[in-house]
């Protein structure tokens, strides 16, 4: 047994409420599981209210309403109101699709603190292509309305090979829309992004150039706009400190009520992730097998176990270790100390070969049909 050691358990601070897997968009880098289409059931309004109440009592304070597209839930305003009464800081993480001015006002009145709008690229053609749905103009309009109604506006753009060349125009767009925060999220290769990696992973030169442009922009807009830069870990020497350590800070609840230590964790074998319909958040956080599995350092294999950096990065990401090395106990292969580190270079080489290939495969879009085919 990996976990069940005497690590001191800290309370959750971040609750990610994935209200639904339904989404009008089809982004080929979606972080939802590949087999999402088989999870049809969704928690009821009462279930969600109970989850919010219990997690808040334990100390969770940041709350993300996510999905899928959270706007497809009819009870969103009711849940936002409940969250405000409990004292959460509520973030709506949305594509903006179907968000009207009336709804923006209603959500504000219900107590929503912040709306994060994602745009796929700086041009309509590419943005609509990546979203798999015509949405670009409406998203820009939503971004303006979010500002107009006094919310802090976070613009999120996921970066990959199809749009990385647009970095200067993406930054211009953020400035023009008056974003208070810009999240430049280099694609993390899980879920759908893993399937499409050959087509999405940029070259090192592309990364470095884009990063330089973003860095110069960051200095230019200092004091006006904050930039969150999600690091492209395939080009790093050390892995990310995933989730700030397993079961220390983050709690994700999937649409069907399964509680996860990170939003990809349902892909890991044998965790027996508990469901909020059967257990309280306190039981899940403190006592469940899943949340104790990778707490502390006892579970580690070499080279992590004796590594003097293990308290800094916790051995990296368990899901990435599993996806790329086949063993979730291994060091994250991103780490140059990992015996599996060569798989990273192989992935980079394979992606580069794919750009040069005459018959490049098409992107696989995230939709129910593809979900059923792939799972």
């Amino acid at each position: 047994m990996a976990g069940f050691n005497k690590t001191k358990i800290t309370p959750p601070r971040w609750l990610l409420a994935e209200l639904t897997y339904a989404c009008p968009l089809q982004c080929p880098y979606c972080s939802n599981p590949i087999d999402y289409a088989k999870y049809q059931s969704e928690l009821t309004t009462e279930d969600w209210k109970r989850v919010l109440t219990q997690a808040r009592k334990m100390g969770a304070v940041q709350l993300g309403f996510s999905g899928g597209e959270p706007l497809t839930r009819k009870d969103l305003i009711e849940l936002v109101r409940h969250a405000r009464e409990l004292g959460y800081y509520s973030n709506l993480i949305t594509s903006g699709y179907g968000l009207s001015e009336e709804k923006i006002i209603q959500l504000k009145e219900a107590g929503l603190d912040h709306i994060q709008v994602s745009i796929q690229a700086s041009t309509q053609e590419l943005s609509d292509h990546l979203a798999g749905t015509e949405s670009y103009q409406h998203k820009k309009e939503v971004a303006r309305l979010v500002k107009k109604h006094g919310y802090p506006m976070v613009l999120c753009v996921v970066i990959h090979r199809e749009n990385i060349h647009q970095m200067p125009q993406i930054l211009e767009m953020a400035e023009e829309l008056g974003a208070d925060y810009l999240e430049l999220a280099n694609t993390q290769y899980y879920g759908w992004a893993h399937v499409n990696r050959d087509l999405l992973l940029p070259t090192k030169e592309q990364f470095e150039q884009a990063e330089q442009i973003a860095q110069a922009f960051k200095e230019k807009v200092a004091g006006k706009m904050k930039i969150y830069y999600v690091v492209p870990d395939f080009y790093e020497d050390r892995p990310k400190a995933c989730m700030n350590g397993w079961g220390t800070t983050f709690l994700t609840i999937a649409p069907d009520g399964v509680a996860l230590p990170c939003h990809s964790a349902r892909e890991l074998p044998g965790l027996d992730c508990p469901n909020v319909k059967e257990y309280s958040i306190e039981q899940i956080w403190n006592e469940s097998k899943a949340f104790n599995f990778f707490r502390g350092f006892e579970w580690m294999k070499e080279p992590c176990r004796s590594c003097d950096e293990k308290e800094k990065d916790f051995g990296g990401c368990r899901c990435q270790a599993y996806l790329l090395s086949g063993d979730m106990y291994n060091a994250d292969p991103v780490c140059s100390k990992s015996p599996d580190h060569a798989v990273i270079q192989q992935a980079i080489d394979s992606a580069r070969a794919s750009t040069l290939s005459a018959d490049e495969k098409p992107l696989i879009f995230r939709n129910s049909k593809n979900s059923r085919i792939l799972s």
């Binding site: 304070v61 800081y89 603190d113 912040h114 802090p152 976070v154």
Partner: protein
């Protein structure tokens, strides 16, 4: 970012200052982030309500804690708060 000594400070409408029972601390909340405050920082920020300038904040806190010589520490913290966008002037 420098402080204008004449203008009052106001807490940013894009942030929220809140007491957290579970942490027994005041915190600043903003999109996807949180800053935990010590008691003196929280006391300063609570006075940034759009009515007090630097001199008035110093005077009020020196009186409240029956001490003197807080100007330097309070100025340093307000500069940090301005730079981070937690508070505003004008």
């Amino acid at each position: 970012m420098t402080i204008n000594p004449d203008l009052p400070f106001k807490f940013s409408p894009l942030h929220r200052l809140q007491w957290e029972e579970a942490q027994q601390k005041d915190v600043i909340l903003y999109p996807e982030g949180m800053v935990e405050l010590n008691q003196s920082s929280a006391e300063i920020l609570k006075l940034c309500d759009g009515t007090r300038n630097l001199t008035q904040i110093v005077a009020e806190l020196e009186q409240k804690f029956a001490t003197t010589g807080l100007t330097k520490d309070i100025t340093t913290f307000l500069e940090i708060a301005l730079k981070n966008g937690w508070i505003q002037q004008n």
